[in-house]
Subunit: 114 residues, 2 copies
């Protein structure tokens, strides 16, 4: 009985936070836009969207709150850039869950057959 339940609540909270940050189409497109590597200003990120600059700003702050994005002031503009670390953490988490699933299925198969 590997009743790990390996996620301590703190880690689970953080995962939920990052998942929530990625749960909006607008924010996914912002992530996609910033995955190009170059820091972008708010107006740059607003162009090509049908939303207001303030809406985009709020979305960027949500991403920042999850650690997915960092902001630095450059002259009169705020430049946002991606931080891929939380994405990698999520990927690792999803891998762990899938792995747990596979191992569980393997054990159940043995139990049924053997």
């Amino acid at each position: 009985m590997s009743r790990c339940n390996l996620e301590h609540p703190a880690r689970r909270r953080q995962h939920a936070l990052v998942f929530a940050a990625l749960s909006d189409e607008t924010r996914l497109s912002l992530v996609s836009a910033l995955a190009g590597g170059r820091p972008r200003s708010i107006t740059q990120l607003t162009d090509g969207s049908r939303l207001t600059r303030q809406a985009i700003t709020k979305h960027l702050h949500v991403l920042a709150g999850a650690g997915l994005v960092r902001c630095s002031r450059r002259g009169r503009e705020s430049r946002f850039e991606l931080d891929p670390q939380p994405l990698q953490e999520l990927r690792a988490y999803l891998e762990r869950v899938s792995e747990q699933w596979d191992q569980a299925l393997a054990r159940l198969k043995v139990f049924v057959e053997g």
Copy 2:
């Protein structure tokens, strides 16, 4: 200029849906509980939680709406089991974003140095 923006809106919608389903701590713990491979009834999943059975039911339906979980009636109880496919899809998506980031950084580095 690889302006792929590879996510068609439909795919992005689906990703947002699954991310949203995983954006709640309660639902993450349900996924964790179901990752054990054995189908669980609603009351089983409610035991050990401080929430109401109806609350858990709603969460399960959210997970089902994202395709993360399937339900089948067995006698008087509803048995829920995990479907890892959407999880793998998300993992692949996160990998693509990270890869795009890495390649972009590499290109920018060449641009600066060369």
